[in-house]
Each structure stands twice: as structure tokens, then as C-alpha cells.
Assembly symmetry: C2
Homo-oligomer: 192 residues x 2
């Protein structure tokens, strides 16, 4: 998606070789007008798939997912990273490794909000090793729901997550796919 790629080139910063800072418009300060254009693109890509619910994960997925839900006229559920007053029996859960933080966390979705009748679009801001998406895919399976696919804002295509999910037969639509990046040479996107 040209608009997002241009925004990344204009405002994104590569630090320490493999960290892309896009916190001026994506995951700290957020640009809702840009999110609406991204949502329209996912709507176009997944048209006719019968999506009736969006699943994302706190925190930085919530903004884009909510605006996608507004555009696609469906509710949004976010997976939580800590248990709340719900008991485990009330929730679907999956384990998510974070390679950047070196942590392992369980994520939770209340059983009330996912069912076998649902056709789910997973939305998230970033994909690198794909652990968060894999955890959400696992939760969709546990719920017996159907997965239409995954919509990602920025995929680090030089990391394995996206290709592993595609190899597993899951449709992944990333609006910007970074082929390589470095502090010296900047950012190069995959050709369509």
C-alpha cells in the first residue's frame, strides 16, 4: 500500500539495525486518518470473505483494529496479556513468545466473544517472527471459528513469521512488507 510505504519512508527510523521506529504514527502517536485508509484496503482485500469479527491483541493493535471494525461494520475483540477477574475456564488462551523482549506470556480471550459461527480477521500492527499472530490463530482454532486471514500493517519480510503462516495455508495481507533495512541504507520494500 503506497500510502503506508511513503509514510514509513518519511517518518520511520531504523535504529540498531533491526528496530523500525514508527511511533510517530503507528504505535505510540497514532494517525487515525491513515488507519482509515489502511482499513479500507483490508476491506477491499478481504471482500466477500464473510468476516463478522476482528481479533487483535493489546495494546498497539487496538487502534487499527477498531477503525477496521468501524469500516467493516463488525465488532472487535482484543486478546489480553494478563488474566483479569475471569477464571481460566472462561477464556481461550495461547502462549506467545516475544523475541524482542525475551519473555513468554499467555494471552486470553473470553469464551463469550468467539464462537464457531464467527469468521475472523486477525489484525495487528507488526509482524516479525509472527508469534502474536500464531497465538491468535491458536485461539481462533480453540474457539472453532473460521479464520479469513491476517491483516498486518508492517511486515518485516526478512523475518520468518509471515512466510511460515502463509506456508501453513493462512492468508496474510501486509500493507507494507520490508525486504531489508539498515540505519545506513534505509528501508527497501518487497515488490508486489
Amino acid at each position: 500500500m503506497k500510502l503506508l510505504e511513503e509514510k514509513i519512508l518519511q517518518d520511520g527510523k531504523v535504529i540498531n539495525g533491526d528496530v523500525l521506529k514508527v511511533d510517530s504514527f503507528l504505535n505510540h502517536q497514532m494517525d487515525p486518518q491513515l488507519f482509515e485508509e489502511m482499513a479500507k484496503e483490508w476491506q477491499r482485500l478481504f471482500e466477500g470473505c464473510g468476516i463478522n469479527k476482528i481479533l487483535t491483541i493489546e495494546a498497539s493493535g487496538i487502534g487499527i483494529a477498531c477503525i477496521a471494525g468501524l469500516v467493516m461494520k463488525c465488532p472487535v475483540v482484543f486478546a489480553k496479556k494478563s488474566k483479569t477477574s475471569n477464571t481460566p475456564e472462561d477464556s481461550f488462551s495461547a502462549t506467545v513468545k516475544s523475541f524482542t523482549r525475551g519473555t513468554v506470556n499467555d494471552i486470553y480471550v473470553s469464551k463469550k466473544y468467539l464462537s464457531p459461527d464467527d469468521v475472523i480477521l486477525i489484525i495487528d500492527d507488526f509482524m516479525a517472527t509472527g508469534e502474536a499472530s500464531k497465538g491468535m490463530v491458536q485461539i481462533v482454532k480453540l474457539a472453532g471459528a473460521r479464520l479469513a486471514g491476517i491483516g498486518i500493517a508492517v511486515e518485516k519480510a526478512f523475518q520468518p513469521g509471515g512466510d511460515e503462516l502463509r506456508a501453513a495455508g493462512i492468508r496474510v495481507e501486509s500493507l507494507a512488507r520490508i525486504r531489508e533495512m539498515s540505519s545506513e541504507n534505509g528501508i527497501e520494500f518487497c515488490e508486489d
Copy 2:
């Protein structure tokens, strides 16, 4: 706001006397169409205030704030509950007590995204003791920005947060104000 009050009466549940569960449409599953109506109401209430930025806090404030930003055509910044790769010198921070969880946490906003030129609307899903809002007010002050006010979805008006902030001269616009609630007698809203 009648629409939100009706939704709370229809789908909200009072548990353990003082916990209002609205996770079917507000803070786990989210209803973006309802959020859009709420955003329009805040837009109406704060019209002419010159708001150019919305501040919220992760996680459950992000959805309503993003849709408010879309409606009010301004960027949204969310305060983070943990330090990221930014050093403290890069961030405004404030301390927030959570009475429900019995914890004390610092919240952070990058100095890049708040400035003395900004006129800020703080948005959050809930207000009880008001600690999260007070932390965000503190951050707006540290940035030297102007605070237009605070927009809250659900205020527990029987807890002191909202009135304390109003007594400090801050405009607080809560779309549903709960006067009292109990598992036995249900939910009563404040009269306008």
C-alpha cells in the same frame, strides 16, 4: 448520552457490588459503531475548544480514543504503562495508583508527541477514583500543553475521581454517569 446508558442497562453486569462488567462492548469486545456515536458526542461537547490532539492510556482507552481522533480529525497519543527502549529523559512520566489492582505504576509519553502548542482532550473508558486521568493531566502539565478537558465513557459518580477533577477546574464530560449500582437493584444513572 442515552445510547450508551441503554447499552449499559442492556448488556452491562454488576458483579461483587462495585464492579461493572461492560466487556461485551467497551473493554474486551468493542463496538466501533457505538464508539463513533460517542466520539460525535464528545466532538459536539468540546466544539470550538481548538483540540488538536487526543491523549489516552493503554489498553482499553485506545479504541475509543482512535475513533474519537478519526471523527475529530486529530492524532491520538497513548500513554504507556511500561518503559520501552526510550530512556526516561525522552519521556514525560507520572505515577498512577490502581485501587482495583492495588498497584502503583508509572506511565510514559514520549516528549516528541506533546508540546506547548497542543490543546489536549484526554479520553478514557472508565473513571472511578480518577487516578489514570490525574496521571494524564500531570503529563499534559509537564508538556506545557493546554488541557481542553476529559472525555470519559463511564463514570462511577459514587466514587470521587470525577468530582475531584471538576473541583480542580477541569472540565470532565462523562457520557454515562452511574449514581449507584448493585447486583440486586441494578444500575441508576445521574440525572442531567
